[in-house]
Structures are given as C-alpha cells and as structure tokens.
C-alpha cells in the first residue's frame, strides 16, 4: 500500500514536470496577445519607490513614470524646459521669483484634484523628509518660500538667482505626490514613506500595480492621466540581473527592451536575431581619474599635469563600443559649457619632463582604487584601470590597482583615503552646475574627497550657477574648466554613449537620458 502510494506520487510529480517540458513556440510577448503590454528586463536596484527617497538608477527611472514634475525636458534637449504640470511659468526680473501656472483640471490617479497646494505639500514633504534627494531641492528652495497664490498658481521664491533651479525640478525628488493619500498611510510620523515604498500616489502616465522584489515591477496605465493617454496598457519591468540572460530574452522576444546588456552583447544580438535594433542614446555621465592632492607626489600640480598628459585618451575611446566621447573638462556634451577645444592632449614627453621638474624623474608608486564591475560602454572598470596603469607606467609611475566592493570603495573615498581613484559621475539634474560644483567647488562632494580646494574657483562656480544668460555661463565654465584641467585633481576620461537594445516591434520610444523609462509614446507594431 505504502509502496503503491509512493510510486503514484513519484509518477504524478514526474508527469507535472514532464508536462512543463515542451517546446514553447513563439513567445506570448511577440504573438500579439500582448500588443499593449511592454516587457522590459532590468536589474532593479531600487530600495524605495517613494520619490522623496528614490535615488538609485531604477527607482528614479520608475518614479518618473508615476510622478509628474512641473516642467520636463524631451529628447535629451536640456536647453529648453517644456511645460508639464505647469502650463507656463514666469521668472521675475531679478531671477528670484518663479510663478508656475498649473494646467486646468489636473487630477491624481486617485481622482483627487492636483492643485497648487498639492504641489507645495509635495515639495515640502520631500524637503522635510530630508533624505538624499532633498539635497537637490534644498539648494534653491525652502519650505517657507513656497506660496500658494491661488489653486492654480504657485510661487517659489529663491534665496539667490539660480540658473539650474528649473532643471532640478526635472527629477523625481520634485515629482508631485498626493500628500493626502500618503499621509492617510502614515505610520509613526513617516509621512507615508513606508506605504509609498511599494505603492504610488502620483499623476504620471502609469500607476504602480505591484512590486514583487527580485521579480518584477508592474505598472498600469493611469486612466486619469491629464496628457495623451499612453498606448500601452501595462508595462512589466522584470528584475533580471544577468546580462547574458537579458540577451537571450530579447533575442527570443520574451522582453522588448533590455537595459543592462553590454555593447558587444547588443551588437551580437542585433546581428544574430534580426529582430533587435539598437538605439544610440546620450548618457549624462562621465568617467574620471581622481587624484588626492594630500598624497605625497600628487600634491604637486606638475605631477597631476603629468598624469593627465600621460593618458592615451584615444585608446580609452576605442574600448568597448568605441562610441565614447573625449572630455576635456568635467562638463559633458549636451550641457552648456561643454567645450571640445580645451587643452589636454596625450603628450608623454611633456609628462616625463613635468615629472622630472617635480623631482620624480624615476617615477613613484601609487595606489589606484576602483570599485569592480562593468561600465555602461563595455569594458570593466578594472580593464580601464589596467589601461591607465600601463599608460602611467610608460612615464615611470608605478600604479598598484586596488579593486574593491562598491561599499568599501565608497567608504575609502568618502574617508579621503584614496590616492588615485577611478569613478564615474552621472547627472542628478541636467545642468552644468551639477558637474562644476562637485568637481570644482571647495565644498563640492567630490573635491572634498580628494581634498582639493581652489578658493579662486569657488566664486566663479557660484557666479556661473547664478548667471541666467547661457552665453555668459558658457564663458564662465570655459574659464573654470581651464583652471581645473591645469591644476585640478581630475583627469576626465570620457563620456559614454549608451546603446539600448529594443525589439523591432517597439515603436515611438522617445528615450531621454534623465527619464530612461519614459513609455508614454511607446507602442508595439508587428514588423
């Protein structure tokens, strides 16, 4: 009896497993059953989907779909802010008062009206919670300086004129949350943050249906959306961390977009499947070599100049996808102040001469700290460091690469204990101030870590941040970058270009570097 029961159970289990194992045929995602569903593969690093907390790549990208901002930019053009929740805005002559006029009839996904008071409450909520995103707003806005003029008019008074204020609003930190909904779920004074971690309460084109950690985020069309309704009914963002798996999935049509494949995998997928195309999209990010100016030889400006002159930048540009851009300063292409004419060419003879003048004819030993892992343009960070090591060895500088986890690297870097370090920096908001300040100002987050302070640069950077004329700003940034590339603690290596693989069925994808999951206009058309 017992044996018979055991055999039957075994047989049943085998039947269930065997029934599953059969050739699948075309993916249901391609077959038409899911024409209005977009399936995306991305390694989800999100901690919280509350826009006042969200700071990782995937959480900020996802939040942009749930929460609208007062203004926005489109197609990676960051010179012209466009209306979003605000139909128009007015700036006072002194550049201190911004008056936003909201679109009429705005509603949150819940159906609750979205008026000027809701925008104020949301901004104040972000500022009061004081998590990492609040920093972006706090530079310009204080809660007591936000005033509701009438239900459709909001006035924000700045403490000082700011050329980058509007661009800081194009960030989930300034995404408008239905604070009443959030507060209805408040626990122990958390302003509803615990609930918003896995729910949405915004007015964006999509709402959050579910987030099962390590599985998928599912968003659904917001039927109360004020703009043109998205053509997609649902977007499934699958948490797939392995880039090899992402490649196979997009080739087979199980996903429509894959965010974490390296350029070589993308090129192979495009060539092999014939059903995948690669979008070449801008990336507001730069890779740099940092030099701690308190470390012996690096304290000498001539040594820092020598290091900059010893790097074969063209070789770095040819690595991986080979689509990288040369940077001669920390301000990247796409922003006011990017200047390809600045000096900074590869010149090993000059590097050797500078080292000799500085008293390091025979070179010196130095440690290069890096957090291991792939870059967005293909090679690993370790590969880049190995290249730098070989370039610097050619002029006599003996580099020892110290690869570590991102947490250990961050601790070392924050603790000002690196000698050389290789890192990257991406834009929080699309404005040159977001690069000039951290890389040049004595109170900048990165300059402090390499202990660099040039007090002559500070007023220039402050002035450029307040200058409202783009032409005058560009001139100021040219001067700032020249200073930094002469005596500063950085060698700016390159700006990557991103390749994004999408299935040929996917149409209407208006990719934006600051809003990479903007699916408002996306639709699927059989090809």
């Amino acid at each position: 009896m017992c044996r018979a029961a055991l055999s039957l159970t075994l047989l049943a289990v085998l039947v269930v497993f065997a029934a599953g194992c059969q050739r699948r045929g075309p993916s249901p995602n391609v077959e038409g059953a899911a024409r209005d569903v977009l399936v995306v593969a991305s390694g989800i690093d999100a901690i919280s989907l509350d826009p006042a907390v969200a700071y990782e790549f995937s959480s900020t990208a996802l939040c942009m779909s749930f929460y609208d901002t007062l203004i926005r930019y489109e197609n990676s053009d960051y010179t012209k802010p466009l209306p979003s929740l605000a139909a128009r805005w007015k700036v006072s002559r002194d550049g201190l008062v911004y008056t936003f006029y909201l679109r009429p009839g705005l509603r949150f996904a819940s159906g609750r009206p979205l008026d000027a008071a809701a925008v104020r409450d949301s901004l104040v909520r972000t500022l009061r919670m004081n998590m990492a995103p609040a920093e972006l707003l706090a530079d310009n806005i204080a809660p007591e300086r936000i005033r509701v003029v009438d239900p459709s008019t909001l006035e924000i008074r700045l403490a000082h004129p700011s050329a980058y204020f509007l661009s800081t609003l194009f960030n989930p930190a300034a995404g408008v949350v239905d604070s009443k909904e959030a507060l209805a779920h408040e626990v122990e004074g958390d302003m509803g943050s615990g609930w918003l971690r896995e729910h949405s309460a915004g007015s964006g084109p999509f709402t959050l249906k579910s987030w099962e950690r390590d599985i998928a985020v599912v968003m659904e069309r917001n039927e109360n959306y004020w703009g043109t309704p998205p053509r997609l009914r649902r977007v499934i963002v699958k948490d797939v961390k392995e880039s090899t798996t992402q490649k196979m999935m997009i080739e087979r049509g199980d996903v429509d977009v894959a965010y974490d494949m390296n350029p070589l995998q993308i090129e192979d997928a495009v060539a092999r499947s014939g059903r995948v195309r690669a979008l070449e999209v801008p990336f507001l990010r730069l890779y740099y070599l940092g030099m701690n100016v308190k470390f012996g030889p690096l304290s000498d400006v001539r040594v820092r100049q020598a290091i900059r002159a010893a790097i074969r930048y063209d070789d770095l540009l040819a690595m991986g996808s080979g689509r990288q851009l040369r940077l001669r300063g920390p301000i990247i292409k796409g922003l006011v102040g990017f200047d390809p004419r600045l000096p900074g060419d590869y010149d090993p003879d000059r590097a050797r001469a500078l080292l000799a003048t500085a008293g390091y004819k025979d070179g010196f030993d130095v440690e290069l700290a890096v957090s291991g892992g792939p870059t967005v343009f293909g090679p690993t960070r370790e590969d880049i460091c190995a290249k730098l090591q070989s370039d610097l060895a050619a002029v006599g500088i003996r580099v020892r690469i110290k690869t570590m986890s991102s947490t250990a690297y961050l601790e070392l870097y924050r603790g000002k204990k690196t000698q050389l370090n290789m890192g990257d920096w991406g834009a929080d908001y699309p404005d040159p101030h977001n690069f000039a300040h951290p890389f040049g100002h004595s109170k900048g987050s990165l300059t402090q870590r390499v202990q660099y302070a040039n007090l002559r640069l500070d007023p220039l950077i402050d002035k450029a941040g307040r200058e409202l004329s783009p032409a005058r700003r560009a001139k100021l940034y040219a001067v700032i970058q020249r200073h930094l590339m002469m005596g500063g603690p950085w060698a700016t290596l390159l700006q990557p270009t991103r390749l994004l693989p999408v299935r040929v069925e996917v149409q209407g994808f208006r990719y934006d570097a600051q809003d990479p999951m903007d699916y408002r206009t996306v639709y699927k058309e059989p090809q």
Partner: protein
C-alpha cells in the same frame, strides 16, 4: 529518545547564539558603511549621521548586540536596511521559493543519484560504471554558475524548451499565496495552468542546482553498495538462490542507504542555503538572491536573519537525519 531530542534542541540554541555573535561581529568589522551605501554617493555627512542615529547604529557595538538579542527573544529580527521591511516578513516571502527549488533539486538528486549509484555498483568496472563515474566527477567539479549559464544557453537560447528564469510566465495568473510554494498553491487553487507553468520554470534551476548533489549521492551509494554487496549475509542470500532484485533492493540497498542518509540531510541543508548563484542566474526570488542583495548593501539585520535561518535549517535537518537513523536502523534505536 526524548533525552536525545531535548539535548539536541538545547545544543541548537547554543549554536544559534554563537552564530549571532559571530555574524554580528563579522558583519560589523568588514569595511563599508551601510548608511553611506543606503544614501548613495550623494548622501551628505549630515544625512549619514542623522540616519545612523535614527537606526541606532551610532551606539556601541555591545549595546547594539544585546539590543538585537533582546529583540530576537521576542522573535523580532529587526528591520531590513534595504527593503525597510521586517526581516521576518522578508524571510517568509523569500524562503518558500528556496524551499521549492531545493526540494525539487533534492528530488532530482534522489531520483537520479540513487539508481545511478546502484547501477554503477552492480556493473562495477563496466562501461556503465565508467560513464557514471564521469557523470559524477563532472557533477562535483563543474561550477554551478557555468553549468547554469550553459544549460540556459542550450535549453532556452538554442532549443527553447525551458524558460529563462523566474517562477511564472509574465502572462500566467498566479494563484493566491497560501504557502508561498507555487506548486502547492496552484494545486490548492486547482489552477493547473499555473501548476504546469511553475513546474516548467522549476525544471532548469532544479536540474542545475541538483546536479552536484546527484553526483555526490551516486558516488556515495556506489561505494556503500559495493561494501554491502561484499558482506556475508548478501553472499548467503545469493547462495540461497534468492532473486537478484530482492537481494539488491530489499537487503543490500536498505543497509547501504543508512550512511547515505547523512549525505542526503547535508545536501538538503546546503541546497537550502547554497542556491545563491543559481537563484541569481535564473532570477529566482529566493533566499540566495535576498542574501546577495543584503550583502551588497551591508544590510546587517537581513544578513543576521539569513544566517540564523540557515543555521536553524542545518540544525533541524541534522536532527531529522539522526532521528531517521533511529527509525531505519534498530541498532541505533537500541544504543
């Protein structure tokens, strides 16, 4: 029997206590600051200090540890720094997926490993034995991540017979969560679409994860069977003209399996705790994936929770193995 059980359970408590101490110390002395990681590259020093204070991470280590123990006594494992949810809730959410995967992997190991071991022993030094040896050697030496990627490439990428990962297809309606075990929940809900889909998703990770245990079991069973088959009572049975099947399966295998029980128990323990790579490659939302995420974010409470759970699982599995010994071997019962 009761004394043994009591003694083992008391020992398990001491073991868990030791593990909390070790994990706590190790996780707090490794380089890296969880708060800095949590707030990212842009978090300011003031924000870091404020958060550290809020989470109680600025207190002396000993105070933090005893506070943790006090909470643990109330079955409160703390709040995950990464997911900001109670660790116990997180474990309850992630562990069933791992149990399902580990059980399926063990099933593969038992169904394939034991017959293969018997076959290799009964056909000693023939091509069957050699083939079984190659299969087993490969199983213990091939890294699981390599095997998983290769299997994925062939069975999903080229042949397209198995899915790339996850527990269910995007377009399958999941059953209502009762146990967290999808196969069981689908059966309870009589949702056969989900049942077959879940089984289909389970195949590949279970095969990859179970291969190592299959190989170990096959070698172990072969060695034990050879030893038992050489014993006098088996020779007597043969001389008495008993059928070979009866000798093999009723007299030899039963005795050969007694030491193998330990291997099975340890295998199950390690399958439950060691599916980190398999879960990452197959996007399997289990304990391994949770552990990796927690480690990368220096999420101390979550790491402590995972370690404690694994230690508990090991202790319990070993206890069950010891009890199973007593059930299958009367000599153990007597002693």
């Amino acid at each position: 029997m009761k004394t043994v059980l009591f003694r083992r359970l008391a020992l398990a408590v001491f073991l868990l206590f030791g593990i909390t101490l070790m994990t706590f110390v190790i996780s707090h002395v490794v380089p890296g600051d969880p708060v800095a990681t949590m707030l990212g590259e842009r978090g300011t020093e003031a924000q870091i200090q404020e958060m550290r204070e809020k989470l109680g991470l600025n207190r002396p280590l000993a105070v933090q540890y005893f506070s943790y123990l006090a909470d643990l006594a109330h079955l409160d494992l703390g709040t995950s720094l990464r997911t900001r949810r109670p660790v116990l809730d997180d474990l309850a959410r992630y562990f069933p997926a791992t149990i399902e995967l580990a059980t399926a992997a063990l099933f593969v190991a038992l169904v394939v490993g034991i017959p293969l071991g018997v076959l290799a022993a009964t056909h000693k030094d023939t091509w069957i034995d050699h083939a079984a040896r190659i299969f087993s050697m490969a199983g213990v030496s091939v890294p699981v991540f390599w095997l998983a990627l290769l299997a994925l490439l062939i069975l999903y990428g080229y042949w397209d017979v198995l899915p790339p990962g996850g527990r269910l297809s995007d377009f399958t309606e999941p059953p209502r969560t009762r146990t967290g075990l999808l196969l069981v929940d689908s059966l309870i809900a009589l949702n056969f679409t989900a049942l077959f889909d879940a089984a289909w998703h389970l195949w590949l990770p279970a095969l990859c994860l179970g291969y190592h245990s299959t190989a170990t079991l096959a070698r172990m069973v072969r060695a034990q069977m050879l030893e038992v088959l050489g014993q006098e009572y088996v020779r007597l049975a043969r001389a008495s003209g008993l059928p070979t099947r009866l000798i093999l399966y009723k007299y030899a295998l039963k005795n050969a399996l007694i030491p193998v029980l330990t291997t099975i128990g340890l295998s199950y323990g390690s399958l439950l705790s060691g599916a980190v790579l398999t879960e990452t490659i197959f996007s399997w939302p289990g304990l391994g994936k949770y552990a990796v995420g927690s480690t990368l974010n220096l999420d101390f409470p979550a790491l402590m929770g995972v370690t404690l759970l694994i230690a508990l699982v090991y202790s319990l599995v070993n206890l069950f193995v010891d009890l199973a010994y007593a059930l299958v071997d009367p000599r153990v019962r007597v002693s």
